[in-house]
């Protein structure tokens, strides 16, 4: 069995009376795009800062590439790239100079650095903006520059801390495609976000955290299988009698049904062809119905069921 690229055990971090990380456990395997999902203040960034040895923690162990991470672990740091949540570039340097400067902190060879910088510029599609100063860039372009500064040195492990905050949809898609490309090139990625759609689309494995605790971890499918809800059926109906609603509730695999504003909403747990069974019942009752939807649970449903609150609460 291969050694995890990141191994966190029983991590505790307190800010005075506030417990930011509460016996947090995590394991990231090489080659993954690992998503840390949680609401704002859940401890995602604190976790990353602890891994990077920026923050002192109270208890627990963190190993990166099988070694303890310390502020002077320069060889480990050389293999890590960080894209911070806030844009961290130098306003007085151009796009190219910024990437060259940050790449230069990792790569000493001038020729190799130039090659890497040019690749990074192309990767984030900032070719036309190489001589621009950061202040002249739009929010999306600035985020892309921030990413380029963090990944230009071709690290094996990349931390991306909410890289798509305040970014337009077009830039967001480009960023997400870029992250997948980095992963295809061999980088292991730890991605934090409170945008569940992004995490669901991007990550091969996800950890859901709240109030500094790990609530669940696994692939999207594994997480969804952890909850009771497996299908949500919505049907537009003009009228529905209480006894008919009770009959629907008694259908197999249905564990909750509600009728509100001409919309019948049915939650199913397990089973197959649940929609078909419901429609058969409605036809048998002679009820006419309109638009019909069947949805699979989202990560928000997973989060809602585990924590009792919406992810974006």
């Amino acid at each position: 069995m291969t050694q995890p690229i990141i191994q966190i055990e029983s991590l505790v971090k307190r800010y005075r009376d506030l417990i930011a990380l509460d016996h947090f456990q995590l394991s990231v395997e090489e080659g993954e795009i690992f998503g840390l999902l949680g609401p704002n203040g859940s401890g995602k960034t604190t976790t990353i800062h602890c891994i990077l040895s920026l923050l002192a923690y109270d208890k627990g162990t963190i190993r990166v590439f099988g070694q303890e991470m310390r502020p002077d672990s320069y060889e480990l740091k050389r293999q890590i790239g960080v894209v911070t949540q806030e844009v961290a570039v130098i306003d007085e340097l151009t796009v190219y100079e910024n990437i060259d400067y940050f790449c230069g902190l990792y790569i000493r060879d001038k020729k190799l650095r130039r090659q890497y910088v040019e690749e990074a510029v192309r990767f984030v599609e900032l070719d036309e903006f190489q001589k621009f100063y950061p202040k002249k860039l739009s929010g999306g372009l600035l985020r892309r520059l921030n990413i380029a500064c963090g990944i230009a040195h071709k690290p094996r492990l990349i931390f991306l801390d909410e890289p798509t905050v305040a970014v337009d949809p077009q830039s967001r898609n480009r960023i997400l495609e870029g992250i997948q490309e980095l992963n295809r090139q061999g980088a292991t990625i730890v991605y934090t976000s409170h945008y569940m759609e992004e995490v669901e689309q991007l990550c091969t494995r996800i950890a859901i955290m709240d109030k500094g605790r790990l609530l669940a971890a696994g692939t999207t499918e594994e997480l969804k299988r952890m909850i009771k809800k497996s299908e949500i059926i919505s049907i537009d109906i003009l009228d529905l009698q209480p006894e008919q609603l009770a009959a629907i509730r008694s259908l197999r695999h249905v564990y909750e049904a509600s009728f509100d504003g001409h919309c019948l909403k049915i939650l199913c747990s397990g089973g197959t062809h649940n929609l078909l069974h419901v429609l058969e019942y409605l036809q048998a009752e002679g009820l006419s119905f309109g638009r019909t939807y069947s949805e699979l649970p989202s990560l928000n449903d997973v989060f809602l069921e585990i924590t009792g609150k919406e992810l974006r609460d």
Binding site: L55, Q85, E92
Partner: protein
């Protein structure tokens, strides 16, 4: 590291507000100092005192007084007086027209034992009262000496020649010391304090470097901290770039002071530059040290620094040029640890003393302080894990 230095220097050069203030501060304040204190030097210059003289040819001391006044008003020999021999009426007219500071005339009594010289001053004289005091002191001294000689001549004529010799000889109570420049102007000392303050103001940029290298104070600091570069080495590169910038700025300021504002720095301008460089180093390292302390933000740190700089500058004589002397009298240690005092004293020593001993003592003090601040800053930040970000 060279790349780090290059980009740090570029960053500083392109930081327009910082560049503007780095240049504007010493140049503008220097110009204002020149306008405000430039007259100090003009006021300091002594010019011969115009005086009207009314002689009484029948007075026994008349010839002697005339010889003495002629000697004192000799134009080739750094004259003390500008003498106009006139009648009493004309002398009064000259005095009332404020053409002269006073009238020297012979005493009415022709008794050789009585003081022969009198002085008439005008209460309306609007000129410098110093000149009237000088005339008064001159007449008093003359009459006193005359009376002493007359007394000896009457009582013991044998000792007259010895007495004359004694009176004409000046007793030296002070050891002569050659000065680098005997005419160091008063305004120059204000400029020394201004240079000291300008050097210390580099501290704000030094503090900025400390802040942008700490993960808990700036996102840029976080990015730098996760890179595999030793923080101390990276910081020293940035501080060196800042030092280079400050040296360029201060060299231009010094050339402006010397060539445009005519500030007299003496003949050893290279030493002045060295003192300024060491002053900038002390300022930058002070800023770096303060910037490295604690978690409080940029605004508070700059506030603390400005307070420190202004206090140091005030104690070095920026507002009152004798302040450094008072401090030296009551708490000399303060002058040894105050970088502004060390800078201005180094420049003062350079302008006044031919021996560079005192200058180099100040330079050594500045370098020691700089080293302590730098080491302190590095110790506070190296390999640091933060409690909170």
């Amino acid at each position: 590291m060279l790349l780090h230095f290059k980009y740090s220097f570029l960053e500083l050069l392109r930081n327009r507000p910082q560049m503007f203030w780095a240049f504007a501060f010493p140049l503008l304040v220097g110009t204002m100092f020149h306008l405000a204190f430039g007259r100090l030097d003009a006021d300091e210059l002594f010019s011969p005192v115009p005086v009207a003289v009314v002689l009484d040819a029948e007075h026994p001391a008349c010839d002697g007084i005339r010889h003495m006044l002629d000697a004192l008003s000799e134009p080739e020999d750094d004259p003390f007086l500008i003498v106009t021999y006139v009648s009493m009426e004309d002398a009064e007219a000259l005095l009332s027209e404020k053409e002269v500071y006073g009238i020297l005339h012979m005493a009415e009594s022709r008794d050789p034992a009585k003081p022969p010289l009198c002085l008439t001053l005008s209460a309306e004289m609007s000129g410098d009262p110093l000149y009237q005091s000088i005339l008064n002191a001159f007449v008093d001294q003359f009459n006193l000496t005359y009376a002493a000689i007359a007394d000896i001549a009457q009582t013991d004529p044998a000792k007259l020649s010895a007495a004359m010799e004694s009176l004409s000889a000046e007793t030296a109570y002070l050891r002569p010391e050659t000065l680098e420049t005997s005419s160091m102007s008063q305004s120059a000392s204000y400029f020394f304090s201004l240079i000291a303050m300008s050097c210390l103001f580099a501290a704000t940029a030094g503090s900025e470097i400390a802040i942008t290298n700490q993960a808990n104070l700036s996102p840029l600091g976080a990015r730098k901290c996760v890179s595999p570069v030793r923080r101390s080495a990276a910081t020293l590169c940035e501080l060196s770039a800042l030092l280079l910038q400050e040296c360029v700025v201060m060299t231009i300021a010094l050339l402006y002071y010397r060539n445009v504002l005519s500030v007299d720095f003496g003949s050893r301008f290279g030493y002045v530059l060295l003192a300024t460089l060491c002053g900038c180093l002390a300022g930058i390292s002070l800023g770096y040290f303060v910037g490295s302390i604690g978690q409080f933000g940029r605004f508070q740190k700059n506030g603390i620094l400005v307070a420190i700089i202004m206090t140091c500058s005030m104690l070095s004589g920026l507002m009152i040029n004798t302040m450094r002397l008072y401090v030296e009298a009551f708490c000399p240690l303060l002058n040894r640890i105050n970088p502004a005092a060390l800078i201005s004293d180094a420049l003062y020593a350079l302008a006044v003393y031919p021996s560079p001993d005192r200058y180099f003592k100040n330079i050594a003090g500045l370098l020691t302080i700089s080293a302590l601040f730098c080491l302190g800053g590095i110790a506070l930040t190296r390999r640091k894990k933060y409690a909170g970000i």
